[in-house]
């Protein structure tokens, strides 16, 4: 069973606009949620995280929102830039491990 799901395989956004990437989860025991960004032929790099006891965390252009009742989190990127084009993975932390979603490919159009 897929405990962490990213239901949108791809997303296309115009440069300067807001990008919103979504993630759903099923396990209430997850204690932290993380977003990773991945460029082709590179390893994933950490972007931002949020504790399960928070509902928002912000870091520059990136904001993550957590809705525990809906078991849903989202990553907002404002404003979107061409360098943001990448695959974004949502991950959830439990014990010593991370469980990853399938990823969403974000394309920023000029």
């Amino acid at each position: 069973d897929q405990q962490v799901k990213q239901n949108s395989p791809s997303l296309s956004v115009q440069e300067g606009r807001i990008s919103i990437l979504n993630c759903d989860y099923t396990n209430s025991m997850f204690d932290y949620f993380l977003w990773y960004k991945k460029y082709p032929a590179e390893g994933p790099t950490f972007l931002i995280s949020i504790s399960s006891i928070k509902d928002k965390n912000e870091d520059g252009r990136f904001t993550v929102f957590l809705n525990k009742s809906a078991k849903h989190l989202s990553l907002h990127i404002v404003p979107s830039q061409p360098g943001d084009s990448a695959v974004y993975f949502c991950a959830a932390s439990v014990v010593q491990k991370l469980v990853f979603g399938q990823g969403t490919r974000l394309t920023i159009n000029p």
Binding site: P9, Y32, E42, G43, F46, K97, L98
Partner: protein, 114 residues
């Protein structure tokens, strides 16, 4: 600091051949992980280690073995490669004390099994 490095970057195997992927980290991290990434599947955990001399199974361990003889190295072995093991393999590490479980990833090894 080189961070997390993986050797080799690319490899092509024939069915039934064996090989070992090497992961090394210079951050003195206690925890190390091996993942595989397949299209539409995200990253799936194969095996992990919480310290030198320890290993544990992840979500998809079948067909793989691991060893952590030194703290800085984590080896992933394929004893008899199968086409289903064609994938991109990522190694990751993290310190024992990590408030959000952030893991640091290597650049990956692209493996093709014919």
């Amino acid at each position: 600091n080189a961070g997390v490095t993986q050797t080799p970057k690319f490899r092509v195997l024939k069915t039934g051949q064996s090989m070992t992927l090497l992961c090394a980290q210079d951050m003195n991290h206690e925890y190390m992980y091996w993942y595989r990434q397949d299209p539409g599947m995200g990253l799936r955990l194969i095996h992990y280690s919480v310290g030198e001399g320890t290993t544990a199974k992840g979500e998809v361990p079948d067909g793989y073995n691991v060893s952590r003889l030194k703290k800085q190295n984590f080896l992933l072995g394929l004893e008899s490669a199968a086409p289903s093991q064609t994938s991109v393999y990522f190694c990751a590490s993290r310190p024992q004390m990590s408030w959000d479980n952030e893991q640091f990833f290597g650049p990956g090894t692209r493996l093709t099994v014919l």
